[in-house]
């Protein structure tokens, strides 16, 4: 019994001890809870939080703007003419960690850094090969000495080079230890360099020209942005609680340009004009007859002096509004044939010693013709072949003298009197001296008939001849055939007509015959032996000089020493029997005593272009058919 009482006493004492412990623990938690409660009330009512403390707890967020990749400009076969890729400028902070090593007395670390700088110098010397290793090391160590924080290493390096540089001593340690500073900037790459650069254009900060300018809205794309926050391991990730605008890269532009044709035309033109210091510029347009698609457009010119190199400086094809000379005789011929004034090209007219009444100059070439042939009449065909000004003045005066407007109506229907819409803005507006306008005189009709008194651009001329090649259907020239996104067509530009019928097919055939005769026996015989039959017309025009160029001369076309500026043109199409391409080549001269005829340099350039296109184009490849069965091979016994 006494034992039982003792056990009960022990149990009671044990419980009391537990209660005491539990009591103290409960009190501790109670006090803690009370303290938390008080703190909550305090924080909610009167506590002011230090912003620096908040900054430590709040995730850092920043707006990240994503720039779109500018769309590509492609040739008709998909080869890139303009693409975008970033380039990098590399600088170096030579003072990196210098102060730290100095303050903490880490001389051996400073020595190690300098040793790595020497190794970096050697690596840079091997990479760029323009300075010795010692030069580089000296530049870096002197920069460290003088406190240079932005030593230029190299500008505009590509990604591959950048990655190599980042593996070099010091640079491989990053910005904080190695001092490498990398600045990225978007860059437009033109793989073919100067080829078709006036058509493709360029982007230089806010300046844009060519297709880069006219299709900028398509090429540019749309910027995107998102908010990013930093994670526990210091990576920047998208903040999912905030808005995001997806970046949209620019669309691609698929042009009608054929790189091979452009290359051929560029090279052929250079071959003709590069060595001639009197030549200021040369242009070439190759247009597909059926569609009006521009396959090549070359604009080579020199600067103010002949010493400057040929380069695509200005788009003369579109902007050079000028009198085109004899290539305009085709306009007159087409009109008189279409109107039925000339029934056949063999129709003759009197030679009159080269005189057309009404104040026109005598055409001395007619005197040569009379002397050589003994004839006193000349056929329209022969007048066209030898490009007689007399013949075309006579035709214009005789058939349109009573109503000159008739001829000018034709000129406007050939779209030679106005600027039409084109993929690159800035097509020059022609200047036409119509009847009852200030520029009209009693000789304007006749001079217009052979190419003076009316000023148009080379593209106007090429488009007109393309209309003849296309049996009277004048197609609108165009440079862009599609807008694409990731290889899929977004928008397509189909060929369209400027004038669905400038003449009947029969008239076009008649004029083509005359153009063919010019090549076979007229002023463009240099093209007679071209590998494809060419039909076309030469034109040689004097250029009206500015007052400064004339230097007091009364003649609008020459200066006091008799120097003139010429433009020689050949324009035509090939193959003559089934035209596929229209071609125009014009050469412009500086002030010179020499003459530049359309039948010389331009015709030679055209010949080279035609021959090379013939070799490349699959349409004209000869075909072979087997004449016998090929015996089946049997196994040898």
């Amino acid at each position: 019994m006494a034992r039982k009482e003792s056990e009960i006493k022990d149990t009671v004492q044990g419980r009391e001890r537990i209660h005491v412990v539990m009591f103290f623990m409960s009190m501790i938690f109670l006090l803690l809870g009370a303290w938390i409660l008080v703190r909550i009330v305090h924080i909610q009512t009167s506590y002011t939080v230090d912003e620096r403390v908040i900054g430590l707890f709040r995730p850092r967020v920043q707006k990240y703007v994503e720039h779109p990749v500018r769309g590509r400009i492609l040739a008709t076969d998909g080869r890139p003419l303009a693409i975008s890729a970033p380039l990098y400028d590399i600088h170096m902070d030579c003072t990196v960690r210098k102060q730290e090593y100095k303050d903490k007395g880490k001389a051996e670390k400073e020595e190690s850094w300098q040793q790595k700088a020497r190794e970096l110098g050697a690596a840079l010397s091997r990479e760029f090969r323009d300075r010795s290793a010692d030069d580089w090391a000296r530049a870096i160590l002197e920069g460290r000495e003088k406190g240079s924080k932005y030593l230029l290493i190299r500008k505009n390096v590509d990604l591959t080079t950048l990655r190599r540089l980042q593996s070099f001593p010091l640079f491989c340690e990053g910005a904080n230890h190695g001092g490498i500073i990398v600045e990225r900037h978007p860059e437009r790459i033109y793989p073919y360099d100067s080829l078709a650069r006036r058509v493709i254009g360029y982007v230089k900060e806010q300046n844009r020209i060519g297709l880069e300018n006219s299709f900028d809205a398509e090429l540019h794309g749309r910027e995107g942005y998102e908010w990013r926050r930093v994670t526990d391991d210091n990576s920047w990730i998208r903040d999912l609680d905030s808005a995001k605008v997806e970046v949209q890269d620019g669309n691609d532009i698929r042009t009608t340009l054929n790189v091979d044709f452009q290359d051929i035309a560029d090279k052929a033109l250079r071959a003709q004009i590069n060595e001639d210091d009197d030549v200021r510029a040369g242009i070439c347009i190759i247009m597909e007859a059926q569609t009006g698609a521009i396959r090549a457009m070359v604009n080579l010119s020199r600067g103010a002096t002949p010493q400057t190199t040929l380069w695509e400086r200005e788009n003369l094809c579109l902007r050079e509004v000028g009198e085109q000379g004899s290539v305009m005789k085709t306009v007159t011929l087409l009109s008189v044939v279409e109107d039925g004034h000339v029934k056949t090209l063999d129709q003759t007219l009197p030679t009159n010693n080269g005189f057309v009444p009404g104040g026109y100059k005598q055409d001395v070439h007619i005197l040569d013709y009379q002397r050589e042939t003994g004839r006193r009449d000349i056929s329209v065909m022969h007048g066209f072949e030898i490009s007689s000004n007399y013949v075309f003045t006579w035709l214009a005066e005789n058939y349109y003298g009573r109503n000159p407007q008739e001829l000018f109506d034709h000129i406007y229907s050939y779209r030679l009197g106005e600027a039409f819409d084109f993929d690159i803005p800035g097509l020059g507006t022609p200047v036409v001296n119509r009847p009852n306008t200030p520029g009209w005189s009693k000789t304007t009709l006749g001079t217009t008939a052979y190419g003076y008194g009316i000023s148009v651009t080379p593209l106007h001329i090429a488009t007109f001849y393309n209309g003849i090649a296309n049996k009277g259907k004048m197609m609108k020239p165009y440079l862009v055939e599609r807008i694409e996104r990731d290889g899929k067509t977004v928008r397509e530009f189909k060929p369209s007509a400027l004038n669905s019928s400038i003449c009947s097919p029969a008239t076009a055939d008649t004029v083509t015959r005359a153009l063919r005769a010019v090549v076979n026996s007229g002023t463009a015989t240099r093209l007679k032996t071209a590998k494809l039959p060419v039909a076309g017309k030469t034109g040689t025009a004097r250029v009206v000089l500015s007052a400064a160029e004339r230097g007091g001369s009364q003649d609008a076309y020459s200066d006091l020493s008799g120097r003139k500026k010429f433009q020689g043109t050949f324009v035509g199409f090939f193959p003559a029997d089934k035209p596929k391409y229209t071609i125009l080549v014009t050469v412009y001269s500086y002030l010179s005593h020499r003459n530049f005829y359309g039948g010389t340099k331009p015709a030679l350039a055209v010949r080279e272009i035609v021959d090379k296109i013939y070799a490349l184009d699959q349409d004209w490849r000869p075909e072979l058919y087997p004449v016998a069965e090929v015996p089946v091979m049997t196994e040898a016994k």
Partner: protein, 113 residues
Amino acid sequence: MTFKEIAHSVRNAFRALRNGEFLLRVRADKYYMHIMYLFLLMWMSIMLSLQVDKTLTQAGANKAAIEELRIHHTESEAALVKLRSASGTETRLQRMGSKAALPQKPATLIRKK
């Protein structure tokens, strides 16, 4: 509920706290599973959030890698295209003393009969 009853409840709660019996008195054991479930949900939420961060970090790294590949591809394409121009090829052939040149006529096509 009167003030007396409230005071009684507070006193009881205080005594229970003192004796370490509060949670048992309020029958917290009855909600043990719920409490555990709440903890599990919170743990999962934190873990998922960390996983999302990790995935987004990986996605950012992948995006940077793709961008780098795109730049590399563009640079390579530009270098390749430069080599493809006909006149460039002709010049290189001439420089190397080769007699090969651009074709003078199109290739003959052999057709089946």
